[in-house]
Protein backbone atom coordinates (compact mmCIF):
# COMPACT_ATOMS: atom_id res chain seq x y z
CA UNK A 1 0.00 0.00 0.00
CA UNK A 2 1.51 3.33 -1.03
CA UNK A 3 1.41 6.40 1.12
CA UNK A 4 2.65 9.92 0.51
CA UNK A 5 4.01 12.34 3.09
CA UNK A 6 4.17 16.00 2.19
CA UNK A 7 6.64 18.00 4.28
CA UNK A 8 6.63 21.77 4.08
CA UNK A 9 8.50 24.47 6.04
CA UNK A 10 6.34 26.16 8.68
CA UNK A 11 5.02 29.54 7.50
CA UNK A 12 6.90 31.36 10.27
CA UNK A 13 10.24 30.00 9.07
CA UNK A 14 12.12 31.88 6.32
CA UNK A 15 12.10 29.60 3.29
CA UNK A 16 15.27 30.71 1.51
CA UNK A 17 15.08 28.13 -1.28
CA UNK A 18 11.43 29.03 -1.94
CA UNK A 19 12.36 32.68 -2.03
CA UNK A 20 15.27 32.04 -4.40
CA UNK A 21 13.02 30.14 -6.83
CA UNK A 22 10.33 32.83 -6.54
CA UNK A 23 12.84 35.48 -7.58
CA UNK A 24 14.15 33.34 -10.44
CA UNK A 25 10.63 32.68 -11.79
CA UNK A 26 9.65 36.34 -11.50
CA UNK A 27 12.81 37.30 -13.37
CA UNK A 28 11.69 34.96 -16.14
CA UNK A 29 8.45 36.91 -16.31
CA UNK A 30 6.14 34.39 -14.63
CA UNK A 31 3.33 35.94 -12.59
CA UNK A 32 3.36 34.63 -9.03
CA UNK A 33 3.34 36.06 -5.54
CA UNK A 34 4.77 33.24 -3.45
CA UNK A 35 6.77 30.05 -3.63
CA UNK A 36 7.51 27.46 -0.95
CA UNK A 37 9.59 24.36 -1.37
CA UNK A 38 9.24 21.21 0.65
CA UNK A 39 9.61 17.52 0.07
CA UNK A 40 7.37 14.63 -0.81
CA UNK A 41 8.15 11.11 0.40
CA UNK A 42 6.46 7.98 -0.92
CA UNK A 43 6.46 4.91 1.31
CA UNK A 44 5.33 1.42 0.55
CA UNK A 45 3.94 -0.55 3.50
CA UNK A 46 3.12 -4.28 3.43
CA UNK A 47 -0.03 -3.91 5.55
CA UNK A 48 -3.45 -3.46 3.94
CA UNK A 49 -4.95 -2.25 7.21
CA UNK A 50 -5.27 1.49 6.53
CA UNK A 51 -5.65 2.48 10.18
CA UNK A 52 -2.54 0.56 11.18
CA UNK A 53 -0.54 1.85 8.24
CA UNK A 54 -1.54 5.43 9.00
CA UNK A 55 -0.35 5.05 12.61
CA UNK A 56 2.97 3.62 11.47
CA UNK A 57 3.46 6.40 8.92
CA UNK A 58 2.60 9.03 11.51
CA UNK A 59 5.23 7.53 13.82
CA UNK A 60 7.84 7.59 11.07
CA UNK A 61 6.96 11.18 10.22
CA UNK A 62 7.08 12.33 13.83
CA UNK A 63 10.23 10.45 14.76
CA UNK A 64 12.41 10.91 11.68
CA UNK A 65 10.88 12.27 8.52
CA UNK A 66 10.02 15.77 9.70
CA UNK A 67 11.55 18.26 12.15
CA UNK A 68 8.71 19.48 14.40
CA UNK A 69 10.47 22.79 15.08
CA UNK A 70 10.59 23.87 11.46
CA UNK A 71 8.25 21.70 9.37
CA UNK A 72 4.64 20.59 9.05
CA UNK A 73 3.57 17.34 7.44
CA UNK A 74 0.47 15.78 5.94
CA UNK A 75 -0.18 12.14 5.05
CA UNK A 76 -2.19 10.79 2.14
CA UNK A 77 -2.99 7.34 0.88
CA UNK A 78 -2.02 6.86 -2.73
CA UNK A 79 -3.74 4.85 -5.44
CA UNK A 80 -1.71 1.64 -5.74
Amino acid sequence: MQWGIRIMPKPEVLDSSGRTVLQALKREGFPLTDCHIGKYIILNLPTTDSQRAYTQIKNMAEKVLHNPLTENFTIEKLES
Partner: protein, 214 residues
Protein backbone atom coordinates in the same frame (compact mmCIF):
# COMPACT_ATOMS: atom_id res chain seq x y z
CA UNK B 1 46.34 11.91 28.14
CA UNK B 2 42.62 12.49 28.00
CA UNK B 3 40.75 10.07 25.74
CA UNK B 4 38.30 11.80 23.41
CA UNK B 5 35.84 9.77 21.37
CA UNK B 6 35.44 11.07 17.80
CA UNK B 7 32.21 9.91 16.22
CA UNK B 8 32.48 8.72 12.65
CA UNK B 9 29.66 8.68 10.13
CA UNK B 10 29.68 7.86 6.42
CA UNK B 11 29.93 11.11 4.45
CA UNK B 12 31.66 13.14 7.15
CA UNK B 13 34.80 14.77 5.76
CA UNK B 14 36.03 16.85 8.67
CA UNK B 15 36.57 13.96 11.04
CA UNK B 16 40.23 13.37 10.26
CA UNK B 17 40.98 17.06 10.76
CA UNK B 18 39.54 17.11 14.29
CA UNK B 19 41.20 13.79 15.11
CA UNK B 20 44.55 15.23 14.04
CA UNK B 21 43.85 18.49 15.88
CA UNK B 22 43.16 16.61 19.11
CA UNK B 23 46.40 14.64 18.75
CA UNK B 24 48.31 17.87 18.11
CA UNK B 25 46.90 19.25 21.35
CA UNK B 26 48.05 16.15 23.25
CA UNK B 27 44.70 14.45 23.63
CA UNK B 28 44.17 10.80 22.76
CA UNK B 29 41.38 10.67 20.20
CA UNK B 30 39.71 7.38 19.39
CA UNK B 31 37.35 6.59 16.54
CA UNK B 32 33.76 5.67 17.37
CA UNK B 33 32.15 4.14 14.27
CA UNK B 34 28.45 4.94 13.97
CA UNK B 35 27.38 1.29 14.15
CA UNK B 36 29.46 0.42 17.21
CA UNK B 37 28.29 0.79 20.79
CA UNK B 38 30.70 2.21 23.36
CA UNK B 39 31.06 2.66 27.11
CA UNK B 40 31.00 6.39 27.92
CA UNK B 41 33.03 5.86 31.10
CA UNK B 42 36.08 4.98 29.00
CA UNK B 43 36.30 8.53 27.63
CA UNK B 44 36.87 12.01 29.00
CA UNK B 45 34.98 13.72 26.20
CA UNK B 46 33.48 13.40 22.74
CA UNK B 47 33.46 15.26 19.44
CA UNK B 48 30.80 15.05 16.75
CA UNK B 49 32.68 16.27 13.66
CA UNK B 50 31.65 18.28 10.64
CA UNK B 51 31.03 17.24 7.07
CA UNK B 52 28.11 15.79 5.18
CA UNK B 53 27.08 12.70 7.12
CA UNK B 54 24.76 10.53 5.03
CA UNK B 55 24.96 13.11 2.27
CA UNK B 56 22.78 15.54 4.27
CA UNK B 57 19.90 13.41 2.96
CA UNK B 58 16.40 14.20 4.27
CA UNK B 59 17.85 16.86 6.65
CA UNK B 60 21.47 17.44 7.64
CA UNK B 61 22.34 15.29 10.63
CA UNK B 62 19.01 13.47 10.95
CA UNK B 63 20.13 10.07 9.70
CA UNK B 64 23.30 10.22 11.81
CA UNK B 65 21.12 11.08 14.82
CA UNK B 66 19.38 7.71 14.40
CA UNK B 67 22.69 5.77 14.49
CA UNK B 68 23.16 2.82 16.87
CA UNK B 69 25.77 4.69 18.95
CA UNK B 70 23.64 7.74 19.69
CA UNK B 71 21.99 6.21 22.82
CA UNK B 72 25.53 5.82 24.21
CA UNK B 73 26.24 9.48 23.43
CA UNK B 74 23.02 10.44 25.20
CA UNK B 75 24.14 8.35 28.17
CA UNK B 76 27.52 10.14 28.09
CA UNK B 77 25.70 13.45 28.14
CA UNK B 78 23.64 12.37 31.16
CA UNK B 79 26.91 11.45 32.89
CA UNK B 80 27.99 15.08 32.33
CA UNK B 81 30.76 14.17 29.88
CA UNK B 82 31.88 17.13 27.74
CA UNK B 83 30.59 16.80 24.19
CA UNK B 84 31.50 19.17 21.33
CA UNK B 85 29.64 19.32 18.03
CA UNK B 86 31.19 21.06 15.03
CA UNK B 87 29.09 22.19 12.04
CA UNK B 88 27.34 18.96 10.92
CA UNK B 89 27.99 17.83 14.50
CA UNK B 90 25.83 20.75 15.68
CA UNK B 91 23.09 19.60 13.30
CA UNK B 92 23.39 16.00 14.54
CA UNK B 93 23.19 17.03 18.22
CA UNK B 94 20.08 19.14 17.54
CA UNK B 95 18.39 16.31 15.65
CA UNK B 96 19.32 13.89 18.45
CA UNK B 97 17.66 16.19 20.97
CA UNK B 98 20.91 16.83 22.87
CA UNK B 99 20.84 20.51 21.97
CA UNK B 100 17.91 22.88 21.39
CA UNK B 101 16.95 24.41 18.08
CA UNK B 102 17.58 23.56 14.45
CA UNK B 103 19.91 24.66 11.66
CA UNK B 104 18.27 25.87 8.46
CA UNK B 105 19.58 26.84 5.00
CA UNK B 106 21.53 30.10 5.02
CA UNK B 107 19.41 33.18 4.49
CA UNK B 108 21.28 34.05 1.29
CA UNK B 109 20.63 30.61 -0.18
CA UNK B 110 24.38 30.27 -0.68
CA UNK B 111 27.05 28.07 0.80
CA UNK B 112 29.32 30.44 2.74
CA UNK B 113 33.01 29.89 3.28
CA UNK B 114 34.72 32.68 5.22
CA UNK B 115 36.40 33.73 8.45
CA UNK B 116 34.09 34.97 11.18
CA UNK B 117 34.65 36.77 14.47
CA UNK B 118 32.74 35.26 17.37
CA UNK B 119 31.86 36.71 20.71
CA UNK B 120 31.76 34.42 23.79
CA UNK B 121 28.48 34.98 25.67
CA UNK B 122 27.67 32.33 28.29
CA UNK B 123 30.01 29.67 29.62
CA UNK B 124 30.29 26.69 31.92
CA UNK B 125 33.13 25.31 34.01
CA UNK B 126 34.27 23.23 31.03
CA UNK B 127 33.32 25.37 28.05
CA UNK B 128 34.67 28.64 29.31
CA UNK B 129 35.78 31.16 26.71
CA UNK B 130 34.63 34.29 28.54
CA UNK B 131 38.19 35.47 29.20
CA UNK B 132 38.50 35.96 25.43
CA UNK B 133 37.19 39.15 23.89
CA UNK B 134 36.55 37.30 20.66
CA UNK B 135 37.54 34.27 18.57
CA UNK B 136 38.39 34.18 14.89
CA UNK B 137 37.19 30.92 13.32
CA UNK B 138 36.21 29.90 9.77
CA UNK B 139 32.77 28.79 8.66
CA UNK B 140 31.94 26.65 5.65
CA UNK B 141 28.29 25.73 5.47
CA UNK B 142 25.11 25.90 3.45
CA UNK B 143 22.73 25.23 6.33
CA UNK B 144 23.96 27.11 9.37
CA UNK B 145 21.06 29.44 10.14
CA UNK B 146 20.21 28.81 13.79
CA UNK B 147 16.49 28.70 14.49
CA UNK B 148 14.38 28.21 17.59
CA UNK B 149 10.72 29.11 18.15
CA UNK B 150 10.19 32.27 20.29
CA UNK B 151 9.66 30.46 23.63
CA UNK B 152 12.71 28.28 23.15
CA UNK B 153 14.83 31.25 22.06
CA UNK B 154 13.85 33.22 25.15
CA UNK B 155 14.64 30.20 27.35
CA UNK B 156 18.09 29.94 25.76
CA UNK B 157 18.92 33.48 26.82
CA UNK B 158 17.26 33.15 30.25
CA UNK B 159 19.12 29.90 31.01
CA UNK B 160 22.41 31.27 29.65
CA UNK B 161 22.67 28.68 26.93
CA UNK B 162 23.84 31.04 24.18
CA UNK B 163 27.55 30.13 23.95
CA UNK B 164 28.83 32.15 20.98
CA UNK B 165 27.41 34.83 18.68
CA UNK B 166 28.64 36.24 15.36
CA UNK B 167 29.88 39.83 15.29
CA UNK B 168 28.61 39.96 11.73
CA UNK B 169 25.82 37.48 11.13
CA UNK B 170 26.73 35.59 7.93
CA UNK B 171 23.68 33.35 7.59
CA UNK B 172 20.62 34.85 9.25
CA UNK B 173 20.90 32.91 12.52
CA UNK B 174 18.38 34.21 15.02
CA UNK B 175 19.99 36.56 17.54
CA UNK B 176 23.31 36.02 15.70
CA UNK B 177 23.69 32.69 17.48
CA UNK B 178 26.74 30.70 16.35
CA UNK B 179 26.94 28.17 19.16
CA UNK B 180 24.83 26.92 22.08
CA UNK B 181 25.15 24.97 25.33
CA UNK B 182 22.67 22.42 26.66
CA UNK B 183 20.88 23.01 29.97
CA UNK B 184 23.46 21.12 32.00
CA UNK B 185 26.23 23.02 30.16
CA UNK B 186 28.32 19.96 29.25
CA UNK B 187 27.19 19.64 25.63
CA UNK B 188 28.10 22.44 23.22
CA UNK B 189 28.17 22.95 19.49
CA UNK B 190 29.07 25.65 17.02
CA UNK B 191 28.85 26.09 13.28
CA UNK B 192 32.47 27.35 12.80
CA UNK B 193 35.42 24.96 12.63
CA UNK B 194 37.94 25.26 15.49
CA UNK B 195 40.06 22.47 13.96
CA UNK B 196 40.77 24.79 10.99
CA UNK B 197 42.29 27.46 13.25
CA UNK B 198 45.10 25.71 15.10
CA UNK B 199 48.13 27.62 13.90
CA UNK B 200 48.54 31.25 12.93
CA UNK B 201 49.58 30.18 9.42
CA UNK B 202 46.06 28.80 9.01
CA UNK B 203 44.73 32.31 9.55
CA UNK B 204 44.08 32.07 13.29
CA UNK B 205 45.07 29.84 16.18
CA UNK B 206 41.92 30.61 18.19
CA UNK B 207 40.61 27.10 17.58
CA UNK B 208 43.24 25.85 20.03
CA UNK B 209 41.73 27.88 22.84
CA UNK B 210 38.35 26.28 22.24
CA UNK B 211 39.61 22.71 21.90
CA UNK B 212 41.80 23.04 25.00
CA UNK B 213 38.57 23.28 27.03
CA UNK B 214 38.44 19.46 27.08
Amino acid sequence: MKKIGVLRFPGANCDRDIFHALQTLSYQPEWLWHKDRFDPSHFEGFVVPGGFSFGDYLRPGVIASQSPLIPDLISASQKQKPILGICNGFQILCEAGLLPGALLPNQSGRFIDKWTVLKPVASSSVWNLKHLKNLCLPIAHGEGRFFAPPDMLKALWDRQQVWLTYHQNPNGSLDDIAGVLNQTKNVVALMPHPERALFSWMGSSDGRKLLKCF
